[in-house]
Subunit: 273 residues, 2 copies
């Protein structure tokens, strides 16, 4: 249990290197990491260039920080190449992620319904945002379309956040801050509240998860019926392995629930605040 | 004659890594470099830590940019260790520079006279600011006390600027921007206007400079007497070697003039604007 976790920020964007934009994202992230008990040891800013991004991430990984937080270059246009650079640095392919695709489709639909978008078609440019480095978890973006991505490499978590400040902050606060807090506490709990799926129907999957993820404590609590069934599933892990496992188990559980069209809500580290 | 010169910015300062300060210095420098025809390829931000600074400069040098612009850590306190880190990376000692010491003494005197300082004593802390990596030229600071430093390493110029934005800008505009423009034009002219030193008294030194710096064109123009003698000395060089030589010759000339207590004014690249 280290009192301070080492973090490296990698900022991607031509606008940060031609004087157009101050890197306020890095400043904000440094403040967050600091207040979560970590310390940013370096910030590396590189252009929207595949080789430069790949090289920056390789350099950052060599320093074995607990976290590498990348911002920028997740959008739909041809010059958004951060995820490509991450995949290259990790030596894995970019693969279309169904969960990310789902997030994008849902978001486009919401924006169309809100009158903020004429056409919610999943164009190839929009679908590009669902192509993540193999092994990544997509991070839903409460403030925009492009999902973030989280992937483990060696001893480091690599997280890719959008470059738009409001989106960067929203994805960080929702997905990264709780995990960083865990790094400090070295315990992670995920609670998934599920409506309309009886506990018995989920039991085989939960058993499978418990067997597969030995460091994870998997527990379900039936919460009674209010019209339909409500079940609270808890996944708890301790230490690095435990946290990894909780995340993986959560991914499988949500994939299952999505396939059933179940309604659910996810709470991470409900007690860590 | 390259149309774009590669630059790396190395920002030093704990305040840039704990969220207290946005790196507006780097933003401003990027805009300057861009408008001078260069491009910043990366920004590396590191804490006020000797090993981190040394390492950052080594990494930057390996990339062989035309310029490495460092900011921060030039002040009088124990945690201002940038020049120490630069010396370590270059494998040279820190040595007290008489010109830098002169600049500091003059500045302290001015500040005392302006009522902005009670005591102009050159304390050990203040004298520390005159200790530069061996081979550096001090850069006078029109807006503060700590001189900047400029040193050549391999194919790169390494320049160290103060971290206070007003000082960083003043030193950059006075000393760095003209040299960067030269990098583009690949010609450098320094004009030194001297009062009170007859041309004949300077002739032996000028002859010596012309012989020592073969790529430099050394020329003096007597400008007549208005009460006392006025002489314009021109030093012109082309290409990398020429620019290096002009700078070195200028250094020797100013040292000579200082030793004589002569009044002079320096103009760099008077025609390059």
């Amino acid at each position: 249990m280290s009192s301070s976790f080492k973090t490296i920020v990698v900022s991607v964007g031509n606008e940060l290197l031609n004087g157009r934009t101050a890197n306020t994202n890095a400043q904000w992230l440094c403040g967050q990491v600091y207040s979560l008990g970590g310390e940013v040891r370096r910030i590396l800013t590189v252009p929207d260039d595949l080789a430069a991004i790949e090289e920056a991430l390789r350099e950052a990984l060599e320093r074995k920080p607990a976290w590498i937080v990348m911002t920028g270059g997740l959008g739909p246009t041809y010059d958004d190449v951060t995820l490509q650079g991450v995949a290259a640095a990790l030596g894995v392919p970019l693969v279309e992620d169904n969960r990310a695709r789902e997030m994008i489709v849902r978001r486009l639909k919401e924006m169309k319904e809100a009158g903020r978008l004429d056409d919610a078609t999943l164009t190839p440019e929009r679908a590009k945002m669902a192509r993540l480095p193999e092994g990544s978890s997509p991070l839903s973006n409460p403030a925009g379309t492009a999902p973030g991505a989280l992937v483990r490499s060696g001893d480091s978590w690599v997280v890719c956040l959008p470059g738009v400040p409001a989106e960067m902050k929203a994805v960080f606060l929702e997905h990264v801050a709780p995990r960083m807090a865990v790094g400090r506490l070295s315990t992670m709990t995920v609670e998934v509240e599920v409506w309309g799926q009886p506990e018995a129907s989920m039991a085989p999957l939960l058993k499978e998860l418990a067997e597969k993820y030995q460091s994870t404590y998997v527990k379900s609590h039936p919460k009674g019926f209010e019209g339909r069934s409500r079940v609270l599933v808890q996944l708890t892990g301790r230490g690095r392995v435990g946290v990894d496992e909780v995340m993986a188990a959560k991914g499988e559980l949500l994939e299952y629930l999505n396939s059933k069209g179940a309604e659910y809500k996810v709470l991470e580290n409900p007690d860590s605040g």
